[in-house]
Symmetry: C2
């Protein structure tokens, strides 16, 4: 690790927390709990949490602390967006070995700060504890305004189209490149894919736009396209057919496939961790989305009418 | 560990999550994020998070999984109560070694379930990941109704009294007994103290009652009485004098002191983890509280006008 200076053990809990808060300040932080601002009438609070463990979800020789912070926010905020809600706040709990440089946690907080501010959200609280293994737990809080139901896994209907906002398969391709070349060895024209893995993005408000323009079901591509679309199909009691041309590997994925000897379709269908918002709608394709499939009566997921070549995705055990 | 049956690795992520959810079901669980119920007009959302790591915050030969679950909720809900708010929901993120029995996580979830239901709250979501060390991260969500400001660390005023709801020093005494006798060896009349450590309680609504009857500042006794009261004094710019008779060790603490050879005042002043709600008020002592001190002009914390014998508490690094 390229991080230096005093360790968390050198500084002690209180000063470590102060150092983190300084990188991502919020007026509502600093008491026993954070009191968020008055909610608009009729709004509902939306919450989700995700945990990331060193060497399981991230590697310190692949990702910078800033990237790890950014990714932890995107993983959670994508889940808020997938409900059609607006992320408003995040909480950060970190378990860190005593030898962890404080500068590492400061850079982590800077990564978190830059991502939450893209959403006009704030890091409002957290916890820092001592542990053998670096573990980062983020909770996101969102606000769902108005009377429309939330986007949910079980509201896809036959006749709708499936649409996507964001790249598909790029994160998995980036991981394959990291595995093959290491962080600094990734060819310059492939850094965009490396970045898609170490610090994926989600465009703010896509979920809110989809919900307000008629979408009913949504999720984010976290476990793999086939797995995530299958979840919508199963929970909604419908069949979904993906359009092979619409999801065909991009030129960047084709090039990464040549460099690694891996079929890029494996990344598209099974990759996950792109945090692309996937939504179904009977209305016009929402702004920022593109059509990638159709919802039919029946069950299961097909690609161009045939069984997909990949049906598994990412799981923690 | 006395837990048997299949491990998390045997079952896989999806079925482990299903097993946990079955022990603490909620209608709002099961989508990308949990949508909470409509908030009352003028209410604000209150959030806090705490992380607990095996062998640092709990030991599996001292605590059952049920107790660990109960404590994780109390640690978080006490922070919500200390704002004068009502806990309404919890999220659970668990990092577990692959060999962890699923039955352990089920019992953990049962402990969580029993505590959240005491508050009419629910476990609404979470995450389960693989790690080397068992780590439990709970986030609590509360609702702060009405127009009164939240109870906060910086609103103690000279002339107020400091009052407490709950025991002080019992958790630290329980830990000393566990260290001396082990879980099963703790004398029967001391099990109440052991329980105060392994599964502390917080009486629902005390924070809400305090806020609605005129209290202004509050915290919970998590780091140690002197440390926590000092935080209120420093943040409010006041002095606080504790009444030595009001906080004098209970008969149970005196007995534990004899059994362990430890001065019980060390537990009272420095123990922490009782999660007793401490509040300051100019009005009548709120229901369920007792007076333990007075707020004066000046700075610092005294006991009967003198410097306390213990000034340190619990910290993670």
């Amino acid at each position: 690790m390229r991080y230096g200076g005093p360790t968390v053990s050198d500084l002690g809990e209180k000063r470590v927390i102060e150092a983190i808060v300084a990188e991502s300040p919020s007026i509502v932080n600093g008491d026993d709990a954070a009191v968020l601002f008055n909610a608009p009438p009729n709004s509902r609070t939306v919450v989700t949490t995700d945990m990331a463990v060193e060497d399981r979800h991230f590697k310190l020789n692949w990702s910078t602390a800033e990237e790890i912070g950014k990714k932890a926010i995107v993983q959670n905020f994508a889940d808020i967006e997938a409900m059609g809600a607006r992320p408003v706040a995040a909480l950060l709990a970190v378990a860190a070995p005593r030898a962890t440089p404080v500068s590492f946690l400061q850079e982590l907080a800077r990564g978190i700060d830059s991502r939450v501010r893209e959403f006009s959200a704030e890091l409002v609280g957290g916890d820092v504890v001592s542990a053998d293994q670096l573990t980062i737990s983020v909770t996101a809080v969102g606000s769902l305004g108005g009377n429309l139901p939330a986007l949910s896994l079980d509201r896809a209907r036959p006749g709708q189209v499936l649409c996507a906002s964001g790249a598909i398969g790029h994160s998995a391709a980036g991981m394959a490149l990291l595995r093959r070349f290491g962080r600094v060895g990734v060819p310059e024209d492939m850094v965009v894919l490396r970045d898609a893995h170490t610090m994926p993005t989600v465009a703010p408000s896509r979920g809110m736009v989809a919900r307000s323009t008629g979408a009913t079901a949504a999720t984010d591509n976290s476990d793999g396209l086939i797995v995530d679309v299958s979840t919508i199909a199963r929970r909604s009691g419908v069949a979904i057919d993906l359009d092979p041309e619409a999801i065909a590997p991009s030129p960047a994925l084709m090039r990464a496939g040549e460099l690694t000897g891996i079929d890029p379709w494996a990344w598209v269908l099974g990759g996950g961790e792109d945090h692309t918002i996937l939504a179904t709608t009977s209305a016009a394709i929402p702004s920022g989305f593109r059509k990638i499939g159709e919802v039919h009566k029946g069950e299961g997921v097909t690609v161009g009418g045939s069984a997909p070549k990949v049906t598994t995705g990412w799981a923690s055990f």
